[in-house]
Amino acid sequence: MNLYATQLECLLVILGIGTLLTDAFRPGGNRRALGYTLATLVFITLLYSFTIHPVNETLFHKMYRLDAFALFFKRLFLLATAFVLLMGAEFAERFETGVAEFYALVLLAATGMLIIASVNDFILLFVALELVTITFYVLTSFLRRQTQSLEAGTKYLILGALSSGFTVYGIAYIFGTTGTTNFDKLAGILHAQAGTPVPPFILGMLLVLTGLGFKIASVPFQIWAPDVYQGAPTPVTAFLAVGSKAAGFALLLRVMLAGLLPVASVWMPVILVLSAATLVYGNLGAISQRNIKRLLGYSSIGHAGYMLMGLAAVNQLGAQAVMFYLAQYAFTNLCAFLVIVAVGRNEISEYAGLGKRSPILGAALFLAMASLAGVPPLSGFFGKFQLFAAVIQAAQTDSRFYVLALIGSGAVVVSLYYYFNVARAIYIEEATDITPLPISLPMRAALYVCMIAMLGLGIYQRPLVEAATLAAGVFGLR
């Protein structure tokens, strides 16, 4: 049973070590082909994952779960990994050395994310979180001769280490006051003690929240995001935006809605305020950006704010909305980063006339921006629609949520401004550089997949909504 439950993780570890061995035995092989092969293998693993069924018991001394929620996120991480490996293959010429190591690190980080999806204990949470974070320290500074990349790596390292420290400290407090690190037991104990928990417990909870807030780049732990997004190699930025953020939300949902649900009345106001602050910070910060990766860094802060809205609502719809949002956000962001890799430029002004230079890249980036802004018929629209619905549902009993909904509405309007500024560059401004952009066949295929997914999930939402409903159902919320 234990092997059945962890087979996806095992497969990725085997792939990662295999990549390193291949490189050791055949140094200097075709780096691009290796990347495409790995992307294909991960994609096959993704397809294979649909044959795995949820297991109704906890495994590894109740530390690990393979429920519908875990499977949903595992598939999401596999999808993101396949795309990031593909981007890595396109990006391979720009790395001086260590392309195989790059692929291997991506696969190991992905393994950590898969474990994160199944975490049911604070100890395993910390181990899995560190597996992902430490891998990312290396990945963000992979362009070792570019100071920007090194700066990004250092920033991520220092702030990441600090937030990891907070997390352990918080876990210690929670263990000290309740005597357990297991989420199920914790929920049982908290449920038994009626009333407000003791202050040290609340402190521990807030410290854990700090660590997770760092992963999802929510205010006030968001400072690193724009710099790291800008400096890191583009495939790594994409992985941060799609994989790492989803991992952070998987943990947040699991910790808050499984372990700490009995004390929801204590943490809900905190999340509510953080959500509003994150929305405001991310969206206002993005307005003046000239660099598209930096813009997406701020935008990722903003989107963390939207998704926190769903968590703050503490209802079934909110949880499922966050999961739907993460899935569609993956396609949307991957689409944007694929275009950035293909164009190979980072200033928004260098995207002028992209619609003429390469109609497919122009259309893909435009659709991605429109989906991020939440425009129908794209998937981002329905994602936001669900989140707003969850907030309004919560507002039926607590009118503070109306304020959150109005702040969210304002954020949508502001975000339209900076996303459409990119659209303006693509279609309205005259091109300064009119050399056509060649696109490889796998890249073209990936772009089409993303575009079809964005339109498909926006128009026919039912399959993903049902999957998210099932996955969020594990928390038994109303």
């Binding site: 629609f385 039926q396 459409f420 303006r424």
Partner: protein, 508 residues
């Protein structure tokens, strides 16, 4: 029959997807596709109109597909008298818009994709019976305009140095702000009304649900008011139209704007009758500001498109005043005016587009004696201006009179004053429109306009003639439309809003 309605709505959108797959090197094929899609939609709409049961005030040709059961979302289309008339308006204006789009010679593929998506968005909103899809199509209609204006528009320098990029961004942001505000209201109604998006069901459920209607109504009124260019949220409108390419101005001023007032009539009034009573006085005051303020602003404009842009803001005031009356005559007049103004605005913008395409100048004082060179366009413009000023014989006259009667018979002093203001608004309208048409089309002929070509062939004249004929037919025989609008207004919109006394007011 049910399927025909769905086809009429979604055919342009399907064609937009098809056009996406066609090679950009064949603009002719894409244009033919756009003409085919809008043309067939118009014919289907006319057929549906001919089959429409005039005795039935409820929804007809209802087609419902279960879409997302966990939310209770259905893809549900149907038309009652109000939607029928407005669907007809979309059909006419979109077909004429596609016809006059031959002036576009750059990136036709993107242009027609956006135009077709816009068309489906508008007709989808008018016919949606499910609040989710209402909002879906509403937003779908608002967004293509950003690129249509940005890519194909033009804004002559001089108006405070504003660019078309400024104009299109302002328009998009304003309209989205309104839309999300309305969304908050719609979702509140969804939860208060037992989690259904079905408008008919929701109306039953909201009755006596204890929902505090005051603020929900305000969210809807001002949310949709942004798009309806309700004072003081109208400032995006004139500059947006001025910057837009011809067909986009026609669609936006003619039809898209009506989505705002349609949203108020379709959702706010019938679903929130309590809230409506609390806000109509303010709405009437704002409507007067629309009529007079925008009218006076139009007096000072020099650019033809700004004149018509402000004029359209001013006319929206009459529609809003009609809505505020909350009686059958006033609201029916408002719906008829939505139709009449839609056709008239489309006609005016298409005529401006015709000569601007050749002169590249639409500054009224620079133009002179154009009627000598382009008599057909001149005649059409005179007729359009007459219609706009509310001359009897045009559809606008009948509808404006109904609005005035409705407002006057509403009874309160406020509405009497508002009616007087509105009637004076007509004088203002006539002043600036007659000035503009006299200066640019009559007077001494300027030799530099010698190169102008008139619309000579039937093909060229057709779109303008079609719009004009519609205005005249409805003007002389308004009962074709009033007879189907009125029962629906009474039953679908106002049956809970009005006290029995005012509901009895009869015009004929």
């Amino acid at each position: 029959m049910e399927n025909l309605l769905t086809i009429a709505i979604l055919l342009p959108l399907a064609s937009a997807f098809l056009a996406f797959l066609l090679p950009a090197k064949k603009p002719g094929a894409i244009r033919a596709l756009a003409l085919f899609a809008t043309g067939v939609s118009l014919l289907l709409t006319l057929y549906i109109f001919s089959q429409f049961d005039r005795q039935n005030a409820g929804y007809q040709f209802v087609k419902s597909i279960e879409w997302l059961p966990s939310f209770g979302i259905h893809l549900k289309f149907g038309v009652d008298g109000i939607s029928m008339v407005l669907l007809l308006l979309v059909g006419i204006v979109s077909f004429c818009g596609a016809l006059v789009s031959h002036e576009i010679h750059d990136r036709e593929k993107e242009y027609y994709i956006l135009f077709l998506a816009l068309t489906s968005g508008i007709s989808g909103t008018f016919c949606a019976m499910d609040m989710f899809f209402f909002y879906f199509f509403y937003e779908l209609a608002v967004i293509p305009m950003y690129l249509l204006i940005g890519m194909y528009g033009s804004l002559p320098a001089g108006k405070h140095g504003r660019t078309k990029e400024y104009a299109t961004m302002k328009l998009t942001l304003y309209l989205t702000a309104g839309a999300v505000l309305a969304l908050v209201g719609l979702l509140t109604m969804y939860y208060a009304g037992g989690r259904t998006f079905d408008m008919v069901q929701l109306r039953e459920n909201l009755r006596g649900s204890g929902l505090n209607q005051k603020w929900v109504f305000a969210a809807l009124l001002f949310g949709f008011g942004f798009l309806a260019s309700l004072f003081p949220f109208h400032t995006w409108s004139p500059i947006g139209y001025a910057a837009a390419p011809t067909a986009a101005s026609m669609m936006h001023a003619g039809v898209l704007k009506k989505l705002g007032t349609y949203g108020i009539i379709r959702l706010a009034l019938p679903l929130l009758p309590e809230g409506a009573r609390q806000w109509v006085d303010l709405l009437a005051i704002l409507a007067c500001f629309n009529i007079l303020y925008a009218g006076l602003a139009a007096l000072t404009q020099k650019d033809w498109k700004f004149v018509i842009g402000y004029s359209s803001v001013s006319h929206m005031g009459y529609i809003m005043l009609g809505i505020a009356t909350l009686n059958v005559v006033g609201v029916t007049g408002a719906v008829l005016l939505m139709f009449a103004h839609g056709v008239m605005a489309a006609l005016t913008f298409s005529l401006i587009g015709f000569f601007y395409h050749q002169t590249h100048n639409r500054n009224v004082p620079d133009l002179s004696g154009l009627a000598r060179k382009i008599p057909f366009i001149g005649v059409c413009m005179v007729m359009a201006v007459m219609a706009s000023s509310g001359l009897p014989g045009f559809a606008n006259f009948a509808s404006e009179v109904m609005v005035f009667i409705g407002a006057w018979s509403q009874g309160s002093t406020l509405f009497r004053i508002a009616t007087i203001c509105a009637v004076w608004g007509i004088v203002v309208t006539a002043t600036y429109l007659l000035w503009a048409v006299r200066t640019s089309f009559f007077g001494p002929f300027d030799e530099k306009w010698n190169m102008l070509n008139d619309a000579t062939t039937l093909k060229q004249k057709f779109p303008y003639a079609l719009l004009l004929v519609v205005l005249l037919v409805v003007g002389f025989w308004p009962r074709t439309l009033i007879d189907i609008i009125k029962p629906s207004v009474a039953k679908q919109v106002l049956s809970q809003t009005v006290e029995p006394k005012t509901a009895m007011v009869e015009t004929r």
